[in-house]
């Protein structure tokens, strides 16, 4: 088959494509002049009177074309008008034989070793030629000599950064070009791509199939199979899919698709193999800022390629779209991430005098660059850590000769008790063992070990050597745990059998270590290399590495109730600060005995010097904790403190009658009862008080990103009930869940929520904040360091810089009352935006739930943002109510109560046949599903539809 030459053309009219972006450019490549079709926003920018102050050069992969960058083009053109934003020009050529660029002449179908295939080295040269031709059009970025390691554009004073971005094989090619033009390029971005290493692992199956000899031309050129399959990896509307296909509508125009596939260096003998290796090495030498945006569901550019790139670009920021696939920029707001990242890395020049103004303008990018998460040695720009951060293992080290009890573990039968001396010895031995095995500082270690002495030993061994503990709890379910573990990408897994089985079944990454030694069959089956027991026999030879205070210590996962669970990073300084909070606020001091029935706090005993007792219970089933198990734990640890979850206390209260006199006496010695994980209603506090008559009962408020933020005790809950706050001269009852006041060391601010449900960029504190609905924003030494591999999520959550502190946007909404107490009213995305203003559902639910006819309720909105109708949905279960409209008298009563609060108008009161709740916290109502059901019913749909 012959392929005739054909010059570049301009695309036809296409959806989401501005014809002003299209141009053809002749460029002098290594083998003569060729014509390229290029997406170039220069004219579109100049049409609005703007001159670029930065340039993004973008390279597509196979089988797409510059159409892939249309969202980026549109976003940059749109943003160019905004205050504080640079004017970014996008230059995105179609590669030769691809898109609407020139079709070269070919005598025969493409073959991997064929002479006519355009090789990656040529493609980088092509890119260089066309990009340099276009860059020369704008003053300030005239290309200088290539290849030198001169300072970047910014550093030499020209301040016109040039940034590369690529996707698929265009990712690697653009990174390679950037690495060879460091004098020109200031930063690099890549979406899913790969520097394939044939010796590492075979090519992914879909590519192997395509490459298999005679299949190649058929799959890629003669038919549209490869094109169709690739475009099928995105959730594309038919007209968008057609636009991607437009330049490849006949076999005669598809040589490039086959040629590109034929040029994949499948093994060492492939003509492009040495070049790809060189590119890979060049990329590894890149030291400028980098961003990797990844769709992990890509069947070709797998996790291992991201891992490889992380290794080559340790400075890279990473943002994963957990549900993204190969065409991640089609299904997710990649352009938004890129623009935010660019704004953080290359802020627009602002007059020194107007800096403050620009910062307070919402139109200016609110995002400051978060400290890079990839390189722990770079300290964060602003730190709240106390200057004298004590190493987490300092007390453990200090007590190495102490023969008193450090930890009692009732999860074993008989209970296992170990001394400080033994705990120090075991953790130090395991630390040495891990180091000898190859665990390096910064390596991640997934902990699949239930709370108890084994977990404590494994954790503190890791902390000693700067290995990062990854804790994905079983509450996420196998799928959620798999996603979480895969995104954290641990190098090691320490697990007991059920965990190792999961790891094997779901093919988790990481070398395996068991807790106790396994037999040869199981060792092979679970690919286990050694065990904690074996490691604990290691001699203490040589010095252990000492982790830096701002190095990562742990990655914990959120519950995932509002999307895929997010990894939350804590540094050593953060965890140390958390331990100090327990000491400072709750008096958990050296020598205290505490019963640790709540996992995160259970692990802090050795950091504080407290004797921790793990009671006999299943962690994932807090209801298995009985009063007598707690009492036995109290006795064994001479404990004066008990930490557990509300669900556990409920069961403790229910089983209190079985306590022996001795057990009762032990419980009566408890001074502090802490209930964490969910708010505690007063009646449960009262029941707890009957079991622990001498204890003060506290219910702290926190989240994975900040475990201890506010606190309220039993008396506080009693006082809060029925209290009011006066706003603008009118007393309004305080409603929602009162979680008390910020604890010592926590700064609290409020971002008021506007009529569209959007929280303000300006934070309020003190009396200004009182009584207003807003997002709660907190600052403390012990809040998260960032989200893991979620650059934009981190940047958004930490975008405030009030007082130069690090703040965290909690996504929780509520009010601060006139005495400084916090009242939670729900999550930000559940705020109802009525024409009378925003409504926090929790406040009205608290009111409605007081009605004797109601068991529980969810307040949702129906209709467009800003003009939603307010709807109360009641749970039929456990009541006399029938699905449908609530009875008239009940409706009238609830409506009158709601109107009396803020003048809000309750449009409808519906009774739902069932209430969906999330699995991890049975109490968390799935408001989104209830809102969907209410939408359906309130437009005339059947009330019998299951929620």
């Amino acid at each position: 088959m012959r392929f005739p030459a054909r010059p570049a053309t301009i695309p036809p009219t296409l959806p989401e494509w501005d014809p002003a972006w299209s141009r053809t450019v002749d460029a002098e490549t290594a083998d003569g002049t060729h014509s390229f079709h290029v997406l170039d926003t220069l004219e579109a920018l100049r049409a609005t009177g703007r001159e670029p102050t930065g340039t993004i050069v973008a390279l597509h992969g196979n089988p797409t074309w510059s159409y892939l960058w249309r969202h980026l083009a549109q976003a940059t053109v749109d943003a160019a008008g905004r205050a504080g934003q640079r004017v970014w020009r996008v230059i995105a050529p179609d590669q030769l034989d691809m898109g609407f660029s020139e079709r070269l002449e070919h005598e025969s179908l493409p073959k991997p070793h064929g002479p006519e295939v355009r090789r990656i080295s040529q493609r980088i040269d092509d890119f260089d030629a066309v990009v340099r031709t276009l860059l020369a059009e704008v003053d300030g970025n005239a290309p200088d000599t290539a290849g030198s390691s001169a300072p970047t554009a910014e550093a030499d004073g020209s301040d016109h950064p040039i940034v590369t971005i690529g996707h698929d094989w265009g990712g690697v090619l653009s990174l390679g070009w950037a690495a060879r033009n460091t004098a020109l390029v200031s930063a690099s971005i890549s979406l899913n791509t790969a520097v394939h290493q044939p010796d590492d692992a075979p090519l992914p199956a879909p590519l192997r199939a395509t490459l298999a000899g005679p299949m190649l031309p058929t799959a890629t050129v003669l038919t549209d199979w490869f094109l169709r399959v690739t475009l099928g990896l995105g959730d594309l509307d038919p007209e968008i899919r057609d636009a991607f296909r437009a330049p490849y509508d006949a076999p005669g125009r598809r040589y490039g698709i086959g040629g590109f596939v034929a040029d994949i260096p499948v093994d060492e003998k492939h003509p492009s193999y040495p070049e790809l290796q060189r590119i890979g090495e060049d990329i590894a030498a890149l030291s400028h800022p980098a961003l990797l945006v990844w769709g992990p569901k890509d069947p070709v550019f797998l996790e291992r390629y991201l891992r490889d790139l992380r290794g080559r670009l340790p400075q890279a920021d990473i943002h994963r779209f957990e549900k993204g696939s190969h065409l991640v920029s089609e299904d997710f707001d990649v352009a938004g991430v890129v623009l935010d990242w660019l704004a953080a890395r290359f802020p627009a020049e602002v007059d020194a005098g107007s800096t403050a103004d620009a910062r307070s303008t919402p139109a200016a990018s609110p995002i400051a660059a978060p400290s890079t998460e990839a390189n722990a040695s770079i300290p964060s720009a602003v730190t709240n850590s106390s200057a004298a951060a004590r190493p987490i293992t300092a007390i453990l080290d200090a007590r190495r000769d102490d023969d008193s009890v450090a930890s009692v573990d009732f999860s074993r039968s008989p209970a296992q008790q170990i001394t400080w001396r033994r705990l120090w010895h075991v953790t130090t031995s395991i630390a040495h063992g891990l180091t000898e095995l190859g665990v390096r500082p910064g390596d991640r270690v997934s902990m699949l070990v239930p709370p108890g002495n084994n977990l404590t030993a494994a954790l503190y061994a890791c902390l000693k050597i700067g290995a990062v503990a990854v804790v994905a709890d079983a509450g996420l379910g196998p799928q959620g745990m798999t996603r979480a573990t895969t995104s954290a990408d641990p190098q090691w897994i320490i697990g007991e059998l059920p965990g190792l089985g999961l790891a094997r079944a779901f093919n988790w990454p990481g070398r395996r270590i068991s807790v106790t030694p396994l037999g040869p069959v199981q060792r092979r089956l679970f690919k286990v290399e050694t065990s904690l027991t074996d490691l604990a026999r290691t001699d203490h030879r040589g010095a252990l590495p000492t982790p830096a205070a701002d190095a990562d210590a742990a990655v914990l996962f959120t519950s995932g109730s509002t999307g895929p669970a997010k990894g939350v990073r804590y540094t050593h300084a953060d965890i140390s600060a958390l331990a100090q909070v327990l000491t400072r606020v709750f008096n958990v001091a050296e020598g205290t005995g505490l019963v640790a029935g709540f996992p995160p706090f259970a692990l802090l005993g050795p950091a504080i010097g407290a004797t921790s007792v793990t009671p006999d219970m299943s962690v994932t089933k807090p209801k298995t904790l009985t009063a007598s198990a707690i009492a036995d734990a109290v006795i064994a640890g001479q404990a004066t403190m008990v930490f557990a979850s509300p669900a556990a206390y409920r069961n403790v209260a229910a089983t209190a009658s079985s306590l022996s006199p001795e057990q009762k006496a032990a419980c009566a010695r408890v001074e502090l009862v802490l209930s964490a994980g969910a708010p505690v209603p007063l009646e449960l506090m009262d029941s707890i008080a009957e079991v622990f008559p001498a204890a003060s009962i506290h219910s702290p408020y926190g989240m994975t990103e900040g475990l201890l933020l506010a606190d309220i005790d039993r008396e506080g809950v009693a006082r809060a009930t029925g209290s009011t706050t006066t706003v603008a001269g009118e007393a309004r009852p305080n409603l929602g869940v009162c979680v008390g006041r910020p604890i010592d060391g926590v700064e609290l601010a409020l971002a008021p929520i506007d009529d569209a449900g959007t929280p303000s960029e300006t934070l309020l504190r003190g009396p200004q904040a009182h009584g207003r609905l807003g997002e709660l924003v907190v600052s403390a030494a012990h809040i998260k360091a960032g989200y893991d591999r979620l650059w934009r999520t981190t940047a958004l959550s930490a975008r405030d810089d009030l007082d130069g502190r690090d703040w965290h946007r909690t996504n929780d909404v509520g009010r601060i009352d006139s005495t400084g107490r916090v009242w939670l009213e729900g999550r930000l995305q559940h705020v109802v935006t009525t024409p009378r203003g925003p409504v926090g559902p929790g406040a009205l639910e608290a009111l409605i739930d007081q009605d004797p006819q109601v068991s529980r309720s969810a307040v949702v909105g129906t209709g467009p943002t800003g003009t939603q109708a307010l709807v109360a949905v009641l749970d039929a279960e456990g009541t006399e109510l029938k699905a449908g409209l609530a009875p008239l008298d009940l409706t009238a009563r609830l409506r009158a109560q709601v109107a009396a609060i803020d003048g809000h108008d309750l449009s409808a009161v519906l009774v739902a046949p069932n209430f969906p709740t999330d699995i991890r916290h049975n109490s968390k109502i799935d408001r989104s599903r209830l809102a969907d059901w209410a939408d359906h019913v309130l437009t005339g749909g059947s009330v019998r539809r299951r929620v």
Binding site: P864, T867, S907, V937, T939, G940
Partner: protein, 323 residues
């Protein structure tokens, strides 16, 4: 200000005329029978008659055009004559007489195509897609009025939605009567959310429009209480306020739609003075959501509904227990 009100024999028209008189305006009314509004000058005639129109608007500084044929069924020619032809006659007359302001009273049904309306704005009047003769001809009439909008004749179209209250015979009285007779059906679970408008608020909105039209004109505004309610609940409350029992007769939506079509056809065959008990249009109205974004309306009119639905229901109770 000298103001002409057409259709002042109905509840809304006479209430508007009365309110304008009370505010000290000079009010002329135009309708087929005496308006009964003290202090107003009545011109007896119809809007389809250019002479009567000319007489009624002579010297007027503003017109409130309420006259319309309102019914669920009837002769299409009659709807067209009044709602389309009458509006054209009035607009032509206003232009000829140099009247500077026209508040045209329309209906949200002019933009209702049978689908649910969930918090939308007014939308364009659509004679081609609107349901039923009334809505189709009102849509055409609104387009005529709005197309006449200019700096010389400033036109604002108001679309009051499902007006009810003491004295209303169109909706309130029918619900009460049928509920008393045990013939008031609830379609489906009665959960479709609808906007309504208490009559006093409608009057005040129209009066407010006479001021607003000077600054904002050439557009349509739906006017409601801004308190969407499930249709079943609202009808039950109106029935109870009128002394009737809570309606218990439930009809599946699909059956009602079919029955509505059938009844319409059968009704047209016979001679009837009253309305058919059910039409397809009514069945749709009763089983789909239609409630509106009121932010633009309240901003343009600088008006807020003064009487809440709950207060309106109490006034209705008082009205029925007094009569």
């Amino acid at each position: 200000m000298k103001i002409t009100v057409t259709g002042a024999s109905g509840l809304l028209g006479s209430s508007v005329a009365r309110a304008l008189v009370a505010s000290g305006h000079g009010v002329t009314t135009l309708q087929r029978r005496p308006s009964g509004v003290d202090g107003a000058r009545d011109v007896i005639g119809t809007v389809t008659d250019p002479t009567a129109v000319a007489e009624a608007i002579n010297g007027a500084e503003a017109i409130v055009h309420l006259a319309a044929k309102v019914s669920l069924t009837g002769d299409p020619r009659e709807f067209a004559a009044v709602n389309v032809g009458g509006t054209r006659t009035l607009v032509n007359g206003a232009q000829a007489a140099g009247v500077p302001r026209l508040v045209h009273i329309s209906s949200p049904s002019v933009a209702h195509t049978g689908e649910s309306i969930v918090g939308s704005g007014a939308g364009l009047a659509s004679p081609g897609l609107a349901r039923g003769e009334y809505a189709r001809t009102k849509a055409a009439g609104e387009l005529i009025a709005l197309s006449a909008d200019s700096e010389n004749l400033r036109v604002l179209a108001l679309r009051p939605h499902l007006m009810w209250g003491p004295g209303d015979v169109q909706l309130t009285e029918r619900i009460v009567e049928r509920a008393r007779a045990g013939r008031m059906p609830v379609l489906g679970a009665g959960t479709a959310l609808v906007d309504t408008l208490f009559v006093d608020n409608a009057v005040e909105a129209i009066v407010a429009a006479l001021d607003a039209v000077d600054t904002t004109h050439g557009e349509s505004l739906v006017v409601t209480n801004g308190q969407p309610r499930p249709i079943g609940e609202l009808m039950a409350r109106i029935a109870i306020a009128g002394g009737a029992p809570e309606p218990k007769l439930r009809i599946p939506v699909r059956a009602a739609l079919t029955a509505g079509s059938v009844v319409e056809k059968v009704w047209d065959l016979g001679e009837h003075d009253d309305e058919p008990p059910l039409t397809r249009f009514l069945a749709e109205q009763l089983s789909t959501a239609h409630w509106f974004d009121q932010r633009r309306t309240q901003e343009v009119l600088d008006w807020r509904p003064r009487v809440s639905i709950e207060e309106g229901l109490e006034l209705l109770v008082a009205h029925y227990s007094a009569n």
